[in-house]
Symmetry: C2
Subunit: 434 residues, 2 copies
């Protein structure tokens, strides 16, 4: 393995941010302060060392940084007593500590893949992350525009008439930035933008095009709400099942958004969803229609809140291998216990031994559909994602039983979806044979 030096991130958090109404780094967004969110999102993408430049109400910010440090993040504060002059002074405050570093603002948010792509692909020349899809930029009149020649930035500023891209507020700098800011200051402008323009004049800064994914500069409370929406919208995954994508996620994300404000761990949600599924399953035992229908509703609800553990983990950067492992094992146990009680429900209706065979084959199907996928991933080192595989996922099997239970046909619906699961496993095996 080739080990690459990862440079530190300098977070500019010295400004007053009047339009936010509070001390900006401490403003909450989905359960985390803006500063925590910035640090944790860059930490997730691979940055291991952080500097927070503080100025306005710095004692409060420093106290908060102290709390973050206690959680094991290597983060230091840098005082910038000149913060009122402009945010260029905050970058100057890094001088003597680091020669190469990333810079972003405390109120800019980027999707993980956007950050990863940037930090993995720059590291020598001064570079700005740019967005060429200018038509899609929110608040274009407030944005800083960039004029390019090839990859080189030849002009930058809010007032540019002709431009090729927009400044996203994520930079990589080497020592040349210090001199450039000083030059701009001599001309009376201590903003980082003025320093960057000096670099552009000398042909010493380049643009790196943003990879697919969101970014937002959240200057106002309204823009914070937009940032929240963008972050939530980035959660549903391409590989989500059909019911999950179109129904479950829409509800679970609303619940997760609300739960983010409390100190609820993803693992607690895993266990709550598991217990809900078990409680629902047990109701199949009684056999009366009203219980069966209620059981169906509860297991479908359990299937919805099953999304919350992963969502909270991603929204608050709490993902862990243990959490993912626990979630999957409990999902399989919940599926199995559901199959067992639905089988008993069928037995109450038909009173035939054959019911138990169908039950055993259904339980087997639910586990094998998932097992086959996992085993494939282990062997081939990639996900098994054919079109038909969407039809053998957890969201579909629970939804089928839920619908079946409304017609008092939970057992029949379960057997049909289970047999489909077996067929899909067989098709997958047959197809991939060379």
């Amino acid at each position: 393995m080739y080990l690459r030096k990862v440079f530190p991130l300098v977070i500019l958090a010295a400004g007053e941010g009047r339009r936010m109404g509070e001390v900006k780094p401490l403003v909450k967004l989905l359960g985390l302060s803006l500063l925590e969110r910035t640090i944790l999102s860059f930490n997730e993408a691979g940055i291991r060392k952080f500097y927070v430049v503080v100025g306005y109400r710095k004692e409060e910010v420093k106290k908060h940084v102290e709390e973050i440090r206690k959680r094991g993040i290597d983060v230091e504060t840098i005082d910038n007593d000149n913060w009122k002059k402009g945010n260029g002074t905050s970058v100057l405050a890094v001088r003597g500590r680091e020669k190469k570093f990333f810079v972003t603002m405390v109120d800019h948010f980027f999707e993980k893949d956007v950050i990863k792509d940037f930090i993995e692909n720059v590291g020598r020349r001064n570079t700005l992350l740019i967005d060429k899809e200018v038509d899609r930029v929110f608040n274009i009149h407030e944005a800083t525009k960039v004029k390019l020649k090839g990859n080189k930035i030849i002009d930058i500023g809010k007032e540019l008439k002709e431009y090729d891209a927009v400044d996203t507020g994520l930079f990589f700098f080497n020592e040349e930035i210090f001199e450039a800011i000083e030059e701009a200051m001599k001309e009376g402008n201590a903003s980082l933008a003025a320093g960057v323009r000096k670099l552009a004049e000398k042909g010493k800064i380049y643009g790196h095009e943003k990879k697919r994914g969101y970014w937002i500069d959240a200057d106002t409370k309204e823009e914070l709400r937009i940032a929240e929406k963008l972050i939530l919208k980035s959660i549903p995954k391409k590989e989500d099942g059909i019911i999950s994508f179109n129904l479950n996620r829409k509800v679970s994300l609303k619940i997760s958004k609300w739960l983010c404000n409390f100190n609820i761990s993803p693992n607690l949600m895993t266990i709550l969803s598991f217990l809900t599924a078990i409680a629902g399953s047990i109701l199949f035992y009684f056999g009366k229609y009203i219980y069966t229908a209620l059981a169906g509703i509860i297991i479908q609800f359990a299937s919805i809140i099953d999304g919350c553990d992963g969502e909270i983990a991603r929204l608050k950067f709490l993902s862990s291998p243990y959490g993912a492992w626990l979630d999957t094992i409990l999902d399989r146990y919940a599926d199995a216990i559901m199959a067992i009680f639905v089988t008993y429900n069928g037995w109450l209706i038909y009173r035939s031994i054959i019911i138990w065979f169908f039950g055993l084959f259904s339980l087997l199907a639910f586990l094998m559909a998932s097992y086959s996928r996992k085993e494939y991933e282990l062997r081939y080192n990639k996900k098994l994602e054919g079109k038909i595989d969407k039809l053998s996922k957890r969201d579909i099997r629970i939804f089928s039983i839920f619908i079946g239970s409304l017609f008092n046909k939970a057992f029949e619906f379960m057997v049909v979806i289970a047999m489909l699961h077996h067929i899909i496993v067989a098709i997958d095996l047959a197809r991939r044979r060379k």
Copy 2:
């Protein structure tokens, strides 16, 4: 990922090898010719380009190389018409084609990890793979001994009285070897050993100590039998289950050794073992003791031959992700069908609904024990190998039912081992929680 140049391997296969009785490169060992085995074992370890230096009965060897090339291996032959003078001339024949290369003999065998460690750790200086455990070297009087000073080889030869290690016959050379061999030839010795001694005199060759694993120089038919034993002995894995290690492997390796001589693919063995398990399971349906006992014997036999697919794959370098995937999926289906029929067997005895619940929980246990392990491996990128995990493997569950069936208690034994499986899954989850 950091990509490293892998140098080619030159295989010395020009000699007469009188003691073998046939053309040496074509002699068969466990279903493959010595030449195929050498090429495929280095290919498995990462070498991608091969030269075979031919001399004695070269047309036959060339025809065989042509067959190997057709299977997609990048291999060329190099003629050495001077082969009778000594094997140094075979290395000289490489001049003009490669400047840095590995060299081994067609009758030397090394365990995969030994090769991997060598090819991953040398690539600049002339290097010889040496074995310092001289006490354990078979036929020490015939071995070439090595005297070291630090890592430097200062003397080498069969007659050395004082020595630190033994020459294993695997080298890495740069161009300096050509001159060294020529010097030795001028003094009347055209062997590679003489050339290597010239390098040693100049302080230009180093020893690399062999990693744990077998190596053997198989000069005679008797030594070939020893090589066969060493290769077979390297198959059982540390993570094999208790019954597998102590019983199943001992039988299956004998079967695999014999099957190696036929054109039987590992996947065919996977399917045969699956069908045997199903056939055995069905006998549990009848309920009479004699059928139950027979069922137990057949499933235990299926469990034994379940090892053959992987063994043949490893012995003949036929491992594939698909093969591993298919094997695991069919094992789980076989486990499940066995659980289903054993449950029916229990039902015939007890005629109580509770039997079906136990059956469902047993099937679930068999799948979850394996599922939990796979999921752990996916999430943590390492195997879950606690001591107790040996008690929830396939060999144990089938052996338990086999023993149970001999006492006409297959169902009871299944339930007990299944509940143990569930407990182990729970312990694993609880233990790894931080």
